[in-house]
């Protein structure tokens, strides 16, 4: 994903960070960056953690109390991806604290010292791995120096482990609790010069650690954004138009104001948006036009909303429809593409003269994120400052948006990041945060804005649909010699949303001598945004399914066909897909090959012909957000198109270390099922400019039945760890769909599968 969540300064030289930005040492209780005092009780990791136990600040990430409790701040927000636990584990490892002494606390958004503190792109792990290790190592070094000074010995004769510093020659020890005050007064070492642990000595990283929040979750004591309650708080619902960007002409405000419990009815004007230019950030994030109802309970606000009658100016898109989009796509597919994005060799010529040609049209629907916790935010505006409690993935642009909407300086905006009931990319947007801030300012009281499920489904930032018109050719030996795609996608300007259109270096570009990616645009007006593995979450389906078609047409084993391609990149292109960033190298075919071979072997792929009639195996691979994943799925399909998923095998290379194995496996299994869920029945359609779906009876998520066994294996490689939230998703869909083909002979070219008369 291209969303830039990290402070560019952090990446300048790769992995070393400016010490000024990152380390603050202060000693006095109550001084320095003492965040605990400003975090209300229910936002803290351990309810009841009072100022008395704040301890001594050791680096920006930790406080050590005299008792020895080490409070580690989790910098990035927790949405279920496990980062609130994994990042503190990395810091704790290098700090040398015993995990039993650790208490985790969610950091507030600090506006810079901890970076952008965003969780997305599966980037939390790769971007924080080295910085947190160095910070932890620095803290350990300071503790050792404090001990050495206390004993008047050489620091080099001391070691630190399990919350204790030991003087080697005399076996004297001092606990971290005893050393904290003195250590906190020491100058901070140069981060480029700290000594990191030998990775073979890791005691915390690589062990399964239970997120402490979960003990509260199972007894209903863990607050999510929706659970926030502050004194004097009112509740708001916000009614937006049935057609996107509809403006309020008039509303029965007086009638609503008179309803029980209602205190305010506000007509809000949406903020202006810039749609022209390459869409870098989501143009639709921010306040939209609508009417807010504020009341003394959410139920009363919601009941009042049901009597709201708004005369909308629906604007020029009130007749847009999915049927219209589909017709336009079909029209464009027949015409010459508008643009050539990439052309290698002469694909048209090669196709014309090829031994075997395969042509197919693929398409997929828009889908909605549908996090189980609907969008919400609590804000309290007072005396020119606003305090915000937000289940957000992305506080930095949130703060920017609030600053702009309220006209106050950034230092007057305090954002507490509250555990979110799912993100999946939806909470990278901060429209709910800006709504809450604006309403709070207008009413002069704290307010919680909570969306209904219907609001949530009908005002999402959708994963856009798309259409791919593919032709491929193989020579008489079954070698892929040409690949041509006319992508027809949705765009409001000259540009596609940057994750909707396939990347220029998207496989098999760089692996086939004649390649073309050409595009045409369908005009539309819907908010779109990133959803778990943006782009990849549909491109894997299209390209891996089509490759399966081509292999099948050539009479070749799909896995072997893919391996042959991967083993033979074009000369001069090197690794094929470039990708990568400062935290991890670009695509390495060798890593992908290892993962594919592993999944082939663990699934028994070679014996699949022995499966009974009606049962089949399918394969898919994808490199997504730096993770290498290959999957084999086994399904059976009956005569009525009813699918029974039986097994999934997933092999993944996400680097050398799996920081928290129990979480990693959970993520992999969840990612596979999330993808299968989307493929089976999720779609958002438009009629008369309105989203047709409204709740879970017509926006169908996978349910807990017919759940297959999912075996996950990690294939370690000698690279720093990368993220796991997104990598398992993309390749699941083609593996599932190719398995359906193997089982039934029905080739899936359209998502969701319910449109192809396939159900679970």
């Amino acid at each position: 994903m291209n969303t830039d969540l990290t402070n560019p300064k952090d990446r300048a030289d790769g992995s070393v960070l400016s010490r000024r930005s990152f380390l603050v040492a202060s000693s006095a209780v109550g001084g320095g960056l003492l965040l605990a005092a400003t975090i209300p009780v229910w936002a803290r990791a351990t309810p009841g953690l009072g100022a008395a136990d704040t301890g001594h600040q050791l680096t920006i990430y930790a406080r050590i109390a005299p008792s020895g409790t080490v409070t580690i701040l989790a910098p990035n927000p927790e949405l279920g991806q496990g980062i609130k636990t994994a990042l503190p584990m990395v810091f704790a490892e290098e700090l040398g604290v015993a995990w039993k002494d650790v208490v985790i606390e969610m950091a507030d958004y600090l506006g810079g010292p901890m970076g952008r503190q965003g969780a997305g792109g599966s980037m939390s792990t790769p971007t924080n791995w080295m910085p947190l290790r160095r910070a932890g190592a620095a803290g350990r070094q300071m503790l050792i120096e404090a001990a050495a000074a206390t004993w008047k010995v050489k620091a080099s004769d001391c070691s630190a482990e399990d919350s204790v510093v030991t003087h080697g020659p005399t076996r004297r020890t001092l606990s971290y609790g005893a050393l904290a005050e003195r250590a906190a007064r020491l100058p901070v070492p140069d981060l480029t010069k700290v000594t990191l642990k030998d990775e073979s000595q890791f005691k915390i990283i690589g062990t399964s650690v239970l997120d402490p929040d979960k003990a509260r979750i199972v007894v209903g004591a863990q607050p999510f954004g929706i659970d926030v309650k502050v004194p004097g708080m009112l509740y708001a619902v916000f009614q937006k138009g049935p057609v996107f960007d509809a403006r309020v002409k008039s509303a029965n405000i007086d009638e609503i104001k008179a309803l029980p419990g209602v205190s305010h009815v506000l007509v809000l004007e949406g903020s202006p948006r810039v749609l022209e230019g390459p869409t870098r950030g989501p143009a639709d994030d921010g306040l939209h036009h609508g009417v807010a109802i504020v009341a003394d309970s959410w139920w009363r606000a919601q009941r009042a909303r049901q009597k709201l009658v708004i005369d909308w100016d629906e604007g020029p898109h009130a007749s847009d429809s999915t049927a219209g989009f589909n017709a336009r796509a079909a029209e464009l597919a027949k015409q010459k593409p508008e643009s050539d994005l990439r052309v290698d060799g002469n694909p048209d010529d090669a196709i014309e003269h090829a031994a075997k040609v395969v042509t197919a049209a693929y398409s997929y629907a828009f889908i909605s994120h549908a996090t189980l916790e609907p969008m919400n935010c609590t804000a309290s505006f007072k005396d020119g400052k606003v305090e915000i409690w937000a289940p957000t993935q992305n506080p930095a642009p949130g703060r920017d948006g609030v600053v702009k909407a309220l006209g106050i300086p950034p230092e007057n905006v305090l954002i507490h990041m509250i555990r979110a009931g799912g993100g999946f990319g939806r909470r990278l947007m901060n429209d709910y945060m800006i709504e809450a801030a604006v309403i709070s300012k207008q009413i002069g009281a704290p307010v919680k804005v909570l969306w209904s499920r219907e609001d949530d489904i009908q005002h999402d930032f959708y994963r856009p649909g798309g259409f791919h018109n593919l032709t491929a050719a193989v020579d008489e030996h079954g070698k892929l010699i040409a690949w041509r795609n006319h992508y027809v996608g949705f765009a409001r300007t000259k540009y596609f949303n940057n994750t909707a259109v396939p990347a220029l270096d998207c496989f098999p570009a760089g692996f086939v001598p004649n390649y073309a990616l050409r595009t045409s645009r369908i005009s539309f007006n819907m908010p779109v945004g990133p959803l778990r593995a943006p782009g990849d979450n549909v491109h894997a389906f299209v390209f891996q399914s089509f490759l399966d078609e081509v292999a099948h047409a050539a009479g070749l084993d799909t896995i072997e066909f893919n391996l042959t391609l991967l083993k033979n990149p074009l000369p001069g292109e090197g690794a094929g897909k470039v990708g990568g960033n400062a935290f991890a190298p670009g695509f390495m075919a060798s890593r992908m090959i290892a993962v594919i071979e592993r999944v082939r072997d663990m699934s028994g792929w070679k014996d699949r012909s022995r499966l009974p009639k009606g049962t089949g195996m399918g394969f898919g691979w994808y490199w997504s957000h730096l993770g290498y994943v290959a999957q084999v799925h086994q399904v059976s399909v009956d005569a009525n198109g009813v699918i029974t998923p039986e097994r999934c095998w997933v092999a993944a290379d996400v680097g050398k270390h799996i920081i928290n194995p129990t979480n990693a496996v959970n993520q992999m299994q969840g990612g596979v099922l999330d993808a299968v869920s989307a493929a089976l029945g999720q779609q958002i359609t438009l009629d008369k400019g309105r989203v047709v779906q409204s709740n879970f009876q017509d926006y169908r998520l996978l349910r807990n039945r017919k759940i297959p066994q999912i075996d996950v294996v990690f294939v370690p490689s000698d690279f720093p760890p990368t993220g796991i939230g997104e990598p398992p998703y993309p390749s699941a869909i083609p593996a599932f769909c190719n398995a359906i083909f193997a089982a039934s002979g029905q080739r899936v070219r359209k998502l969701p599968l319910s449109e192809e008369k396939l159900t679970i």
Partner: protein
């Protein structure tokens, strides 16, 4: 209007409109936020409580009908032997990801195991398919239920 009912063994009295769903009475009037809101139309199960031990979608229980009932929520289900075992299994197996649906899952699973000590795959399908998990922790939900079942057997 005033309504009175037991929540986790404690008598509670509330004064709200009779059509208010019990879900919102629990969350906003009684400040018990463990029971969650996911859809408002009994499609997701996040609002599941027990009424006399039976799993009930509290978003569709008007408080007028809760009058006089015995209600158990996620905050109190651990007082029962099986409830506590289920909560413990949820941690041992490390079921949750975001955790938002899990209160409802635990309530549904507890009711299942109270009724059927050794549920089959179909029993689990039938009892649990009304509880959505967007993170799709279904593999571990099922594993945790089976773990409790084996503990009950042993």
């Amino acid at each position: 209007m005033s309504y009175k009912f037991q929540v986790n063994g404690i008598e509670r009295t509330v004064d709200v409109e009779g059509d208010t769903p019990l879900l919102w009475v629990l969350r906003d009037t009684l400040n018990m936020t463990g029971t969650k809101f996911g859809c408002g139309v009994a499609q997701c199960g996040a609002c599941t409580v027990h009424v006399d031990g039976k799993p009930t979608r509290s978003c569709q229980l008007p408080v007028q009908h809760a009058d006089g009932l015995n209600i158990t929520t996620i905050e109190g289900v651990g007082a029962s032997r099986i409830g506590k075992m289920v909560q413990q299994a949820w941690l041992t197996v490390d079921v949750p990801q975001c955790g938002y649906c899990q209160a409802g899952q635990i309530m549904a699973a507890t009711a299942l195991l109270e009724r059927t000590r050794n549920p089959t795959e179909t029993d689990i399908d039938n009892a649990m398919s009304g509880n959505l998990c967007r993170c799709a922790t279904y593999v571990r939900i099922r594993a945790a239920i089976k773990q409790v079942a084996s503990q009950l057997e042993g």
